[in-house]
Symmetry: C2
Amino acid sequence: MSARLGVVSVVQAMIYDLRSRIFDGEIPPGTPLGEVDMAAHYGVARPTAKAALENLVASGLLTRNAHQSARVTVLDSADARDIYQTRAIIEAEAVRLLASTGHVPQAAHEANAQITALADASPAQIIEPDLKFHAALVNALDSARTSAIYAQLSDEIRLCMTHVQDATLLSTENIAAEHQRLLDQINSRDAQGAASTLADHLGRASKKLEAHLDLIQQNGK
Amino acid sequence: MSARLGVVSVVQAMIYDLRSRIFDGEIPPGTPLGEVDMAAHYGVARPTAKAALENLVASGLLTRNAHQSARVTVLDSADARDIYQTRAIIEAEAVRLLASTGHVPQAAHEANAQITALADASPAQIIEPDLKFHAALVNALDSARTSAIYAQLSDEIRLCMTHVQDATLLSTENIAAEHQRLLDQINSRDAQGAASTLADHLGRASKKLEAHLDLIQQNGK
DNA sequence: AGGTCAATATTGTCTAACAAGTACACATGC
DNA sequence: GCATGTGTACTTGTTAGACAATATTGACCT
């Protein structure tokens, strides 16, 4: 009787819904999520809520110390730096491999076209297609485990974005232009150049993000 | 009253013990691990055993379909290829970054010395220091998330080894020599050369592993 | 004001039970 | 003999309630 699409178990449904609420900013970083509260909110037993929370803790979205309520993970500038360093490692090698064959993923093209189309939209709407663009580069490697690792990393990147919500990190045109340059370099089999462009692109974004998080932490304190 | 070192919870103790038994080959791939059986074996409640099994499923050591007993994951040649491709991506960028500064991690040196010392030992004893060598390269990047990802990947590499147990995949001297060459290239800041050496090193190991797994699968069928 | 201690709240784990789904074996029909 | 269908047994999924262990918080005392 349960729906075949989307949800197969109660726990998975809870995980999916909590993820959405966290990414949408409905549950801001630092919010405590007690097991009993969650169980009551979703009308499930405590062990079920516990399982869902533990899953989210494992994926990094929630943080928990022993005998304390799980909280939505609060990221500082050091975390952002680490996250961007990690994604840079994976993406750098990805673009090198793609450049070695000159194959430009169709999905990356399409994602960048979406970004260009959103030229004057609100900054927050750029996040999704931007993530899609970068994920397309990694997914083009056709490695299930690499894609899975990057997907998990994407969750933490998304979580970063909820911290800075309204701030425009980079102008839309610049992002789209840099992406296009990256694709061109891949297409012309310039591995070293593509890796360099990507490193600059991510390094710049990381620096802005780190500065912003430092600012927030200072204000909050 | 609980020991501060090693184990903090019953679930974690179960996870630790099961991991050891799987890596030691005591529980070979394909073995079904029912929740009730595990609960009885460890003298814990079923929900506790369930939590431990779910953790191992998440880390890839166990595989489970809905309403079926979890089994120790059986890897085929395609899995081995994917695992080695994934580690190659991370390690390749790692050695490139290390070569850009010319910094050779001390831990990598020590691990390779261990391998050299084991020249005429049983092949299985080479696995641990070899994993330590490669992990040292990644850990030298000083990125918590990158190290965590690689640690998880190391578990699957270990699981690969349990499939081929007694077979000598590569001679000890060759491995140590290739490792040394890699360290020399990092030291001389030859990023491209180091990446190339690593790709060859892993590619060769992957091919041997894939062939072996194909052979096993054919015999088992 | 600072430190100690107790009350509180939360998680960690267990027992017991029912519901739901899958796999296997058996019987049946062709 | 073989394919098909059915039913049973086994396993997991989820719930409920309870007790133990621990971290936090506030009150109390010095």
